[in-house]
Subunit: 381 residues, 2 copies
């Protein structure tokens, strides 16, 4: 932890005709390789997982939610307990989002102005006020490694005027966040907004690049738009964002989404999908998804995924996991084991992608995976 | 697993004036030391715990519930998956109860006769018939190491006539169980019944001793009777049961109960208390119990128990665990961590008891513990 500088180094570029690259990000809490998947530790915990489980699954960086942590237990309590790393006993890198997305999607919004947003917590009704300055302050108190500026998030669909207004306000807030930032050992990323409008995305990216952030996120996607729009917006932004800075596509997504975005040069992802799906019995495998509650698994002696090396796959049959997920049993162990498996799969998926980029065969890897994961013979089909 | 014989060896007797002893039980799935606590794996899982967690906590033998397993997933499915050990991936010894207790407490009882009991499952309403022969068959199909005969369980209080009838029927059923048993690699214990009546307990113990079981359980206690009655019944039975056979006090209990029973020569225990309490936020420590939800732990940087070596105590503060248990957060990780801690405490408690017996100072250990665990200074008080 001697080095308090945030550092990104591109170590390899794909040679199969995509923008994919392998990188290494260094933070005060250690380094990790990109492309990377960040499990979501909303309330200072990746639901069901201990830090030991996360290490076992291959997690190298976590995402925490500023909104949730500010509401409960509050950044002051976390600071009293030694900061977010120590509070949750995770000694690796942590990134926190700005809370913007949750303020606009979860909270009872009271007032929105250029100054900031006032809202009532969805947990206890307490009144909160988020300004760009306050959101930086919270994240500095949490003591994480990568922080995000407050942004004005809109839904899908939105009119051009709405998207433009929210984008412009987000840029103003990004500037204020830069000015408010006081700690040298945290990297503040810029967030590209602009809804589903290519020219807005481009303009936003250009203005943020001028502000020279150490990394850039693309926000406001995976909110219901068609996949083609998502790809168009990712392409529009990545073509402008500087190649020597890391790029983070927020809230995305599926293995298929990763392949698309990495081909455009995206380096970082976060999503609740592997953890949330696991708790509902949904399993990611190298042969596609399966639902462990389906009756076809009741007498299956197979592991979830014969290619997976996780404790769950090395130890238990689908039959046993089906039993754990069956009605009136629904044992917590099933939720833990499927979460461990899905996270292992997500991390292993990224490791294989990095390997394929090193080998200059990312495109081939992507095509093989898309073919394989459509094979119905070994999943629920 | 070469030795298919069930074997019990008393290795040390307390020299501080109690009947406490250290023993070693050998089964086809390995050996364990007594006094021992057996976590309850009702439905082929100790709620929230993986086999790896159990080993970590110090578990050496598990208890499974014949009633629950017969109802779901059914012994046939378990056999198809290679038996209960392989199904749940636990390679150590397993004891199953007879289901008698659950039939009388959980099921919708249809008919009870000398032949057996007919009941509807509390899960799906299916009609089942348990006879002594059928219960032995189920346990032989499950393939566990120690099995129990069907017994007629009564509640507290019960009249002398009720207790006598149930005890006599249980003895008849024990005889039929012995005749029905066909596998040599399972040990069938006798169960002493007799309600809260000393003379019935004594008569039952004597008749069972004549049948020469390899081990003896004491059933029908911890069902609401005063602690003095429990102790009187334990003393009545243990004074008659042969000292060279293991003694198992079913469904008990608290650390205090263990000290009482071990002083009378009990070797084995099972109880849902450490696991069920954990899921409700209740924590056992060397200084007594605490409730992690209590506000006094909100800002406490202390571990649950400074004397505990479990992953939870070595890693997390009470403040963090309080956060995990707080309303609208209630993360599963909290349930897992407290279960791991409580089981570690229970097993460590037994290990310290065994150590004190070796050292001839069990009585001193018991007195110290009772004093210490009343100290309110480091718990919720």
């Amino acid at each position: 932890m001697g080095n308090n500088e945030f550092y990104f180094e591109v170590q390899a570029r794909d040679r199969s005709g995509t923008q994919a690259r392998v990188g290494k990000i260094t933070t005060p809490h250690g380094s990790f390789m990109t492309p990377v998947f960040m499990p979501v530790a909303t309330r200072a915990v990746v639901k069901t997982m201990s830090p030991a489980n996360l290490k076992e699954a291959g997690t190298t960086i976590l995402l925490g939610n500023t909104y949730h942590l500010a509401v409960r237990p509050g950044e002051r309590l976390i600071a009293k307990m030694g900061g977010l790393h120590r509070f949750m006993a995770w000694d690796g890198p942590i990134l926190t989002d700005s809370g913007g997305f949750q303020v606009f999607s979860l909270a009872d919004l009271r007032e929105l102005s250029d100054e900031g947003v006032t809202f009532r917590s969805h947990i206890n009704g307490d009144l909160f006020c988020f300004t760009p300055e306050r959101v930086i302050e919270i994240q500095e108190i949490l003591g994480v490694d990568i922080i995000m500026p407050l942004d004005h998030c809109i839904g899908w669909p939105a009119t051009y005027v709405e998207a433009k207004e929210a984008m412009e306000r987000s840029i103003q807030w990004a500037k204020r966040s830069l000015r408010a930032k006081s700690k040298k050992d945290q990297a503040l990323f810029g967030i590209v907004q602009g809804g589903g409008y290519k020219d807005l995305r481009e303009r936003c990216a250009r203005e943020l690049v001028d502000l020279d952030f150490p990394g850039y996120a693309i926000g406001g996607l995976s909110v219901g738009e068609p996949k083609e729009i998502m790809e168009e917006m990712v392409r529009a932004a990545t073509q402008i964002l500087p190649p020597e800075k890391p790029r983070y596509l927020m809230g995305v997504g599926t293995p298929q989404d990763f392949l698309m975005a990495i081909a455009h040069g995206i380096d970082m992802f976060d999503c609740v999908m592997p953890t949330r799906n696991a708790r509902g019995g949904g399993v990611f495998t190298w042969n596609g998804k399966l639902q462990i509650r389906n009756a076809c698994h009741k007498e299956s002696p197979l592991p979830l995924d014969p290619k997976c090396s996780c404790y769950c796959c090395q130890t238990f049959s689908r039959s046993y996991l089906h039993h754990l997920f069956s009605k009136k049993i629904e044992d917590i162990l099933g939720l833990v084991l499927l979460t461990l498996h899905n996270l292992t799969f997500y991390h292993e998926f990224m490791a294989k992608i990095r390997e394929s980029i090193w080998q200059g065969r990312f495109r081939e890897f992507a095509e093989e995976f898309l073919l394989q994961s459509r094979d119905p013979s070994t999943n629920d089909g």
